[in-house]
Symmetry: C2
Subunit: 205 residues, 2 copies
Amino acid sequence: MPIVVDDRARRDRISEVATILIDRVGLGGLTIRAIAREAGCSTSFVTDFFPDKRAMLLQVLGDAAHRTKRRIDAVLAADPHDLHGCALAYLPLDEERRRDWKIYFAFWDMASTDAAFAQEQQRWQRIARDHFETILHARGIRSGPEDMLHAADRLLSLVMGISTQAAFDPETWSPVTMRAFMLREIDALLPSAPSHPIPSPEARA
Amino acid sequence: MPIVVDDRARRDRISEVATILIDRVGLGGLTIRAIAREAGCSTSFVTDFFPDKRAMLLQVLGDAAHRTKRRIDAVLAADPHDLHGCALAYLPLDEERRRDWKIYFAFWDMASTDAAFAQEQQRWQRIARDHFETILHARGIRSGPEDMLHAADRLLSLVMGISTQAAFDPETWSPVTMRAFMLREIDALLPSAPSHPIPSPEARA
C-alpha cells in the first residue's frame, strides 16, 4: 500500500515542521503559510491533507505524546521496575524532550477550552501516574503499601512541576539539577536506601 | 488627580474583561474586538489605552500575579510561619484561583518565545520558592537544615504539578483532594508530626 506510506510520510513531515515552528515562535505565531514555507512546499500541501488547522494541531500533540510513550516503553522494556529511568525519561533532559514539553505548554491554552486537547492531556497524565504506581507496587515503598497512590501522585506532580519551572528558569533547573533532584526524591521513597549514585549525563540521559 | 483614577479604572476593567475571555475562549481566541464587545464599548476604548495587544496581555498577566501575591501576603500577615496556609493559597481551590491558573497556562506558550513573559513567570517561581524556604527556615524541617532548599523546591514543584493536573483532570484532582494531598506533604516535612486535621473548605479556602 504505497499510497498509505506516502500519506504517513507527508503527515509526519507536516507535524515535524509544525513542532519546530511552535518551539521557535509559539503556537500563537504558527500559521499554515509558515509551515508551507518551512517545509518548502505550497500551503495546499498542508490544507489538502488536514481538514483544518485544529486537526493538524491534534496530530502534532499526538506525535509529542507518542514520542514520550516510546521513551518510557524503551526504559520499561529494558527493566520493567526501573523507577529512576522512568521518571528521568519524562523530564526535559535533552533537546527532543525540552521541545516536547514546550509543545505541551503551547497546547495547554487550547486544552483549557477544547475538550479533545484536554482529554489528550488527561490521558497522558493518567498513563504516567499508572506507570509510577505499577512500579511502586512491584518494588514496595518505605512508608507502606497504603501510601502507594499518594507516592505515584507525588512523582507525577514533581515531574510536571520541575519540567514547567525548567522551561522558564533553566538557570535554576539545569538538566543536572533536575536529574539529581528526581533521583533523590525516588531514593527517599523506595524501601532500601541504596545511596543511589547520581549517574553521569551520558549513562542516564 | 481624577484622570489617573479614571485611567486605572479603565485599565483594570480591560484587564478584567480580558481575563474572563481568556478563561472562556483561551488566549488563542482573544481579540480586541471581543474585549470591546464584552465590555460594551468601542475597540478604541482598548486600543487608545494600550500601545498594542502584547502590552495589554502583559497587564493581564501582571494582574493575575498581583492577585496571587495578595493572597499570599494575607496569609503571611496573619501568621508569617503558616506554611500550610501559604501552600494552599497557591492552589486552584476556588473560582478566582482556578481562573488565575488558567491565565498562567494561557501565557506559557507566549512565555516560551517572549522574554518579558518568561521573566514574569520566572520571577513568580522564584518568589514562591523563597517564601517556602523562609518559612521552612523559621520552622525547621524533620530531615535537617541541609535539606531546606530541596524541601522548598519540592513544595513549589508539587504546587505547580498539582495545579496543572487539576486543570485537565478535575475529576482526579478536586479541591478537597488537592488540599488533603498538600497538607499531608507539609506534615511529612515539618519536624513535629501534628497529625494536622484536614480543615473544612470554609475554614481553609
